[in-house]
């Protein structure tokens, strides 16, 4: 059998690479793709090779061990894409954090980039990279199983129930913390009592009790040792995600008052009075027309609006001195700066 590379194989091939049967002669020939090595073979070969349990892939160069359940119908004709989609689906189920889990957009984007790099390693990387990425993925999955499960459920939840559950979680955590503190205090008390007892018993020279006490100490130490080993293992290079939201902090919602579209900018003119009584004192030909004829006002034209805008503009920007305020902006040469200075103080402008 000719050695074929993975990219060249295609499940719509007219010929099964394992048994060599031709589609031309077997019209009902169907192909299935293995999700392990992405080789496509016909259903007859699968039955023949795997119905008695796991066996090697019938493609010579492959050598992976496969089972019947590893084969499935390929959705995409290009098996490279099929593989990438499968990998992406798998990564997405593990790294299923959402934007709300992060403090800011930057850290969320950094997270997305990390995940994408890992995916890319899995899809396009060489063997070493693939292995490393696979390891990372598995480690993350193992360590964060509960969280992943929670996020998955969350994705299906509505916002309201989510908030309720968060509050409940918070309360539970608080309870747990209190319990822990209490337990710790009890533990300490017990330990002190125990030590006193032990010292007493050693002092009194009761052999049996002393042995028991020493054994107890040893057992305790051993437990501590186990914990240390676990901690050391956890220190191995693993994925770490920065910028996750601190749940304690977000719990306190700051009341910022009603939304202000002008960000605190006061729109009432200070230089003219635009109260209704005052506006009634103004008059000109247009206004007379407006007052006489309702047809003007039918479309929503308001004389007050016109008046207040005209009066506002008459005094708007009077106290803005462009040459002083813009003087510092980008006057690069010394001569120009001097010209700017003289322009401010002198009456004559050096323009044109």
């Amino acid at each position: 059998m000719p050695r074929e590379t993975q990219a060249e194989e295609n499940f719509t091939l007219d010929r099964c690479p394992a048994c060599g049967r031709m589609r031309y002669l077997n019209h009902d020939m169907e192909f299935r793709v293995s999700t392990i090595c992405y080789h496509a073979i016909c259903t007859v070969c699968i039955r023949n090779n795997f119905h008695q349990g796991p066996s090697k892939c019938p493609i010579m160069s492959c050598g992976k061990t496969l089972r019947t359940k590893d084969f499935k119908k390929a959705w995409f004709q290009d098996l490279g894409i099929q593989r990438e989609v499968d990998i992406r689906r798998r990564v997405a189920t593990v790294f299923n954090k959402v934007e709300e889990d992060f403090q800011d957009l930057d850290s969320y984007n950094a997270y997305l980039e990390d995940v994408e790099c890992l995916t890319d390693d899995l899809v396009n990387g060489d063997d070493d990279k693939k292995k490393l990425a696979e390891l990372k993925l598995q480690q993350w999955e193992a360590e964060h199983r509960a969280e992943i499960e929670r996020n998955r459920r969350l994705a299906n939840e509505s916002e309201a129930t989510r908030r309720k559950r968060m509050a409940a979680e918070e309360a539970l955590a608080q309870q747990r913390r209190e319990l822990e503190i209490q337990e710790e205090a009890e533990e300490k008390l017990k330990e002190r009592k125990f030590r006193e007892e032990m010292l007493d018993s050693l002092q009194q020279g009761e052999q049996g009790k002393a042995n028991e006490a020493v054994n107890k100490i040893l057992l305790k130490k051993r437990g501590q040792h186990k914990k240390d080993v676990a901690m050391e293992a956890a220190g191995a290079p693993a994925l770490s995600i920065r910028g996750l939201v601190d749940k304690k902090r977000t719990a306190a919602v700051v009341d910022e008052g009603p939304y202000d579209p002008f960000m605190g900018l006061d729109l009432l003119p200070t230089r003219v009075d635009v109260s209704k009584e005052r506006l009634a004192q103004y008059d000109n030909d247009t206004l007379k027309k407006v007052k006489m004829d309702d047809a003007w006002k039918a479309g929503g034209y308001s004389a007050e609006e016109y008046l207040s805008r005209a009066l506002f503009e008459a005094f708007a920007g009077l106290g803005v001195f462009v040459d002083e305020e813009m003087g510092e902006r980008g006057v690069s040469t010394q001569g120009a700066a001097q010209a700017a200075a003289t322009g401010v103080t002198g009456g004559k402008m050096d323009i044109d």
């Binding site: 890319d120 396009n124 900018l265 006061d266 729109l267 009432l268 003119p269 200070t270 230089r271 003219v272 004192q281 103004y282 008059d283 000109n284 008046l307 805008r309 005209a310 009066l311 506002f312 503009e313 008459a314 005094f315 708007a316 920007g317 009077l318 106290g319 803005v320 001195f321 462009v322 040459d323 002083e324 305020e325 813009m326 003087g327 902006r329 980008g330 006057v331 690069s332 040469t333 120009a336 700066a337 001097q338 010209a339 700017a340 322009g343 009456g347 004559k348 402008m349 050096d350 323009i351 044109d352």
Partner: protein, 345 residues
């Protein structure tokens, strides 16, 4: 700080299009120098090309502004929109040289675009049929360039409505001086229609300052009525008010001196200044590539089309990567694309 000033400071006219006189001069000089540098290689070097200077450029722009105002009047475009067109035009030539883009072309584009920007409908066909020897294509050729040149700041604050407000206020304060106010109104409006557009006051002063300066030229007493001096009293508030008033009066006086250089009578007398020699000089040093804007834009479009075609010819494998280069194609750079907002000011 008065809210009026804060609101004006948030406008694009203040943020982008306000300069100190020195800065504006510097900008114009650098525009001129850049244009020279760009055009020089395209002109025959044997008789060294005689470029127009920055001062001469300004004179040409002024001349073209008069042409623009006259064309606007001829087309029956309202005063405010004519003013908007003139300001668009002048803003464009702060960062672009008359040697690069012909002012006679751009002034039509400015008029057309000002009508668009101010919501005054004027169809392209109507405009081009009224202006002799102008095609619709010619008007459109410079449209995007114009927008780019003025940094897409389409909102121009004019002193016209400010004048309405001031006249209303004067009428309320002095009801018995009807005739004097009416005359002042008419004459101030005459000034505002022309002088501010011919000088650089829009770059250096706010609309209300320009309006006050024009009003002062006509009737100084009215300005004192609108900005009354403080009464007797020596507390800090009065002192601050007096100081502010002095500064405002100083700005108005400076603005007035600038406006007086171009009184409204110049609109009809402008032809007295001989412009022919300068225009002839300009013709000799124009950018040959951009002589015909329509052809220039067409060639640019074709260039872009050809480029796309070339892109389409690249094999799929090169784009999607045969394996190892997949990462590189993901990080393809996009900053080679030209910035639509043009280069930095």
């Amino acid at each position: 700080m008065a809210t009026e000033d804060a609101r004006y400071r948030s406008s694009s006219q203040y943020r982008v299009w306000s300069y100190s006189p020195a800065r504006l001069q510097e900008l114009r000089a650098s525009t001129n120098a850049l244009a020279k540098q760009q055009i020089a290689p395209h002109l025959p070097a044997d008789p060294a090309p005689d470029f127009v200077t920055a001062e001469e450029e300004l004179r040409l722009v002024q001349w073209a502004t008069v042409e623009l105002l006259r064309a606007g009047e001829f087309l029956g475009i309202p005063t405010e929109i004519r003013a908007t067109a003139a300001i668009f035009f002048r803003r464009f030539y702060v960062t672009n040289s008359v040697m690069t883009y012909a002012p006679t072309e751009l002034l039509k584009t400015s008029l057309f675009f000002a009508c668009k920007a101010e919501n005054h409908h004027m169809s392209l066909g109507e405009l081009s049929s009224k202006l002799q020897g102008t095609t619709a294509e010619q008007i459109l050729a410079g449209e995007f360039l114009l927008c780019q040149g003025m940094r897409f700041c389409f909102d121009v604050h004019h002193p016209f409505r400010a004048l309405e407000g001031a006249i209303l206020e004067l009428r309320r304060q002095a009801p018995h001086e009807e005739e004097r106010i009416r005359q002042a109104h008419v004459r101030t409006r005459e000034i505002l229609k022309f002088s501010p557009l011919m000088t650089d006051v829009y770059f250096h002063y706010t609309p209300s300052q320009i309006m006050m300066a024009a009003l002062q030229m006509v009737d100084a007493g009215f300005v004192d009525m609108l900005i009354p001096g403080s009464g007797s009293g020596d507390d800090t508030a009065t002192a601050a008010y007096t100081q502010m008033r002095d500064r405002i009066m100083g700005a108005i006086a400076n603005c007035r001196t600038m406006l007086e250089e171009e009184p409204p009578s110049r609109l009809t007398e402008f032809w007295i200044t001989p412009m022919k020699p300068l225009r002839r000089k300009l013709q000799k040093c124009r950018d040959p590539a951009r002589l015909d804007l329509v052809a220039y834009q067409r060639s640019k479009r074709e260039e872009a089309l050809n480029k796309e075609k070339k892109d389409a010819n690249i094999a799929d494998d090169d784009v999607f990567g045969g394996g190892g280069s997949a990462r590189d194609t993901k990080r393809r750079k996009v900053d080679a694309v030209e910035d639509p907002f043009g280069p930095a000011l």
